[in-house]
Amino acid sequence: MRVVVDLNRCQAYAQCCYAAPERFVLQGDEILAYDPAPPAAERAAIDRAVQACPVRAIRVEHDGPAERAA
C-alpha cells in the first residue's frame, strides 16, 4: 500500500491518528509522521483514516494483484 499526505493541506487535526494509530502519529504540536508503506492487512484502518481527514489530505493506493501475490 502506498500513502502520501499533503502536508501543506494537513492541519494536524489528528483524526487519522485515531483511525490508524499504528500508522499516523503527531509529534510535538503539529508534525505528522506517517508510514508511507503500510502493510496490506491495515487496509481498513488506512481507509478509515483517509475518510476521517477533515481536509482530505491523505491519498492511498492499494496494492495491485501482482503486488498482492508478491
Partner: protein, 427 residues
C-alpha cells in the same frame, strides 16, 4: 489534444502528477515516462526527516498513483538531448522517442561541494534522492563522532534535527548570520538559531568552510574554516541548495540554465528569443515561470505543492490549449519540520522589506509572521501555528495593506521590523 504521444522527461513528483492529470483529462494516446533513476516516482520530503531518524525506510516512499497509471515506463535511462525540430527526445541509450507533446520535469539536484576531489572523500554526502538518504542513514548508523552540515537552509536544518534526534553531535556552518536567513530572514532565523542551540546543535553562523580534509585512506576527517578554525568531523552533509537539471537541454535552443528552464504562464518552454514552444512544457522544480502575484517576476520554486499543481496545470495546457488553462497562479506554499517545529509558509518572502509577528509569540514557540513589501502583504509564515495560516491566503493574493490590522487582545503589537533578508540588505 486527446491522442498521439506524450513523453514526460523526469519521473518524479511533477512528472507523475502531470501524467495522472493527462489521463484524468481524457488523454487516450501513448504516454511514456522517462526517468534516470531506476525507481518509480517516490516522495522526497521524508528523506531528510523520518528516513534519517530511522522511522521510515528510504525505499518506502513510492508515491500512490504509480500502480494504476496507464503509461510506459523507461526508468534508469536519462534523457540526453532534445531534437526540437524533429520533435523527439533522445535517450542516453540511443533511443529516439518521437512526441507530439513533451513535459520536462527533470527537477533539480543537490548543489555539490565545489572542490570535486574533496566532494569525493568518503563520508561526504549530499541529499536529494532515496539512494542518497540510504547512504547517509548507513553512515549515521556507524555512529560518527561528529557530523558537520554545510548550509543552514531547510534541508540542512531538517538533517541537523534528524541527526540530533539520533543523539549524535552536530555542527552546522553557514555564512549567513542566522539559520534559514536566506528564506525567512534574520528575525525568524534568530528564533530558529535559539531552537537549534537548545537542541544541542553547535551552530556556527557567519562562518564559511574553505576546505575539507581527508585522512590517508580517503575519508573525510576535518573541515577548515575560512577564518582559520578547524572542525573535526567524520561525516559531512553538503546542504548548499539545488541546481536545476537542465544540462541535457544544452544546444536545444531553449532558454535554460542552472536556475531553471524558462516557461510562460501556460508552462510552455521558452526558446532563447523568449518565444513559447507549442509542444514543449515544463513543471516542478525545473520550471522557471512568471508569477502573476509577484509582478510576473520569473521564479523557480523547490516546493512539493508546486510540483503537484504545476504538473497538473501543464497537463491542462497540453490537452486544452494555453488559453483554456490560463496563467499558472498557484500561491507558493511549503512546509518544513525540524526541532519539533512545524513551519508552514504561503507566498514568497524574497523581496520583503518588513516582517511583523501578528499572532502568537516566539517566546511560546507558536507564532505567525507576515511579510510585507512597500506596504503590501506578500507572504506569511506560521511556526507551530498551521491553522492560523489559511486566513492569510486572501490578504496575500489581494496584496492587502501591510501591516495587517489584527487587533486581537492576546496579540502582540505588530510593529514591523526589517526582516533581515539578504536581498533586502543589498537593496
Amino acid at each position: 489534444m486527446r491522442d498521439g504521444t506524450i513523453v514526460v522527461a523526469g519521473a518524479s513528483l511533477a512528472g507523475l502528477h502531470g501524467a495522472e492529470a493527462l489521463r484524468r483529462g481524457g488523454f487516450a494516446g501513448r504516454l511514456i515516462l522517462v526517468g534516470d533513476e531506476p525507481h518509480r516516482p517516490y516522495d522526497r520530503p521524508p528523506l531528510s526527516k523520518h528516513v534519517l531518524t530511522g522511522e521510515v525506510d528510504a525505499g518506502a516512499t513510492t508515491l500512490p498513483g504509480v500502480g494504476t497509471l496507464d503509461a510506459e515506463w523507461r526508468l534508469g535511462v536519462p534523457a540526453a538531448g532534445l531534437d526540437r525540430a524533429g520533435r523527439a527526445l533522445l535517450l542516453a541509450d540511443g533511443t529516439r522517442l518521437p512526441f507530439d507533446r513533451l513535459l520536462i520535469a527533470t527537477g533539480a539536484r543537490a548543489r555539490p561541494w565545489p572542490q570535486a576531489d574533496e566532494a569525493r572523500l568518503s563520508g561526504v554526502h549530499t541529499l536529494r534522492g532515496r539512494d542518497d538518504a540510504a547512504a547517509l542513514a548507513a553512515g549515521l548508523a556507524a555512529r560518527p563522532g561528529r557530523v558537520l552540515i554545510l548550509g543552514a537552509g531547510f534541508i540542512g536544518g531538517e538533517v541537523a534535527s534528524s541527526i540530533r534526534a539520533l543523539g549524535l553531535p552536530v555542527t552546522v556552518v553557514d555564512p549567513e548570520p542566522a539559520p534559514l536567513a536566506r528564506a525567512l530572514g534574520r528575525v525568524l532565523g534568530g528564533f530558529m538559531a535559539g531552537r537549534m542551540e537548545a537542541s544541542g546543535v553547535d551552530l556556527r553562523p557567519g562562518a564559511r568552510v574553505a576546505r575539507l580534509e581527508g585522512d590517508g585512506a580517503g575519508r573525510v576527517r576535518a573541515a577548515h574554516l575560512a577564518d582559520g578554525g578547524t572542525i573535526e568531523a567524520d561525516l559531512v552533509v553538503v546542504a548548499l541548495g539545488a541546481v536545476r537539471n537542465t544540462a541535457w537541454l544544452a544546444g536545444s535552443g531553449l532558454s535554460a540554465d542552472e536556475g531553471g528552464l524558462s516557461c510562460d504562464g501556460a508552462c510552455r518552454a521558452l526558446d532563447e528569443a523568449g518565444r513559447p514552444d507549442e509542444a514543449i512544457f515544463a513543471a516542478g522544480d525545473v520550471a522557471r515561470f512568471p508569477h502573476p502575484l509577484y509582478g510576473g517576476r520569473p521564479v523557480a520554486l523547490e516546493h512539493w505543492g508546486n510540483a503537484v499543481a504545476q504538473g497538473a496545470h501543464a497537463a491542462r495546457a497540453m490537452l486544452d490549449g494555453p488559453e483554456a488553462a490560463g496563467a499558472y497562479a498557484e500561491l507558493p506554499a511549503f512546509w518544513s519540520s525540524q526541532f519539533g517545529l512545524n513551519i508552514k509558509s504561503l507566498g514568497l518572502t524574497e523581496e520583503a522589506d518588513a516582517v511583523a509577528i501578528v499572532q502568537g509569540d516566539p517566546r511560546t514557540g507558536r507564532f505567525l509572521a507576515v511579510y510585507g513589501r512597500e506596504g503590501r502583504t506578500i507572504a506569511a509564515v506560521a511556526v507551530n501555528a498551521g491553522r492560523w495560516l489559511p486566513a492569510y491566503e486572501a490578504p496575500i493574493r489581494d496584496g492587502a495593506p501591510f501591516p495587517p490590522i489584527t487587533g486581537g487582545a492576546d496579540q502582540p503589537s505588530p510593529a514591523p521590523v526589517p526582516p533581515g533578508l539578504p536581498s533586502a540588505q543589498a537593496a
